[in-house]
């Protein structure tokens, strides 16, 4: 059967390809949440890469770093989402039409540019709820 170390090289190559694809989405993502999702996926793949490369180099001590990185990655994702939950007014980039974002910057109650998203039903804004229900 195959050489005993080749499987770790295969796993490392697959994880590196997936990390490059996740980086493409993180840079090209049209919205903030695409970037957060790609960053979280990149962190998960980093944990796997640390484990696989630790086995590839014959030093599985890297698993301590991988375990710590898994903890930090989860906490960082939740922290980034909580941080940007105060920034709803600038999230008018639902569709490709980013025109009415300048109008919605002044009033944070009208979430997400009612021209593009009229069905923003669970919007937590206290007023301006019936913006796009027509």
């Amino acid at each position: 059967m195959g050489a005993p170390r080749n499987m770790f090289a295969v796993a490392t190559a697959a994880i590196l390809v997936a990390m490059v694809l996740a980086l493409i989405r993180a840079f090209a993502g049209p919205s903030l949440y695409d970037r957060v999702l790609a960053g979280n996926s990149f962190g998960t793949k980093t944990v796997l890469l640390l484990g696989a490369m630790g086995f590839l180099m014959g030093r599985p001590d890297f698993l301590d770093i991988a375990l710590l990185y898994a903890l930090i990655n989860f906490a960082a994702t939740i922290a980034i989402l909580h941080f940007f939950s105060y920034k709803k007014a600038t999230m008018g980039e639902l569709a490709e039409t980013a025109a009415p974002t300048a109008a919605t910057l002044g009033s944070p109650a009208t979430l997400g540019s009612p021209a593009t998203a009229p069905v923003s039903a669970p919007a937590p804004g206290p007023s301006g709820e019936d913006g796009g229900a027509t």
Binding site: M1, M7, N40, T116
Partner: protein, 112 residues
């Protein structure tokens, strides 16, 4: 039959399936048309592919402590990856993102 050969074959199977799942999920993360479809691709394949790769690494662990560390990483990733995916989806939904619906995959502007 050699015991190490069985472990090598099991490790190859798990690592190939897991690595293929991770790469396919990253392709879906790049290619899918909508935020929620990208969320589905990334969330499901990250959880499944990570668990499969870690199981494949467990079969090659040289020491019991390495096995315990891999089991800890697998348990933690299996717990936190769906939670993080759900948190991203919940935040996007609360801001006002809506999935593409219908045959032609447009935003649901009619309310219907």
């Amino acid at each position: 039959m050699n015991w190490a050969l069985i472990l090598d074959v099991l490790s190859w199977i798990f690592i190939l399936v897991g690595g293929g799942g991770v790469v396919v999920g990253a392709l879906g993360l790049v290619r899918f048309p909508d935020f929620y479809t990208r969320l589905h691709a990334a969330g499901v394949t990250d959880t499944a592919g990570a668990e499969l790769i870690i199981i494949g690494l467990i079969f090659q662990s040289p020491h019991w402590l390495v096995t315990v560390k891999l089991l800890l990483i697998g348990a933690f990733l299996g717990l936190t990856s769906p939670v993080a995916t759900h948190a991203v989806a919940h935040a996007a939904w609360m801001v006002g993102f809506r999935p593409l619906t219908g045959e032609d995959l447009t935003y649901d502007t009619d309310g219907e």
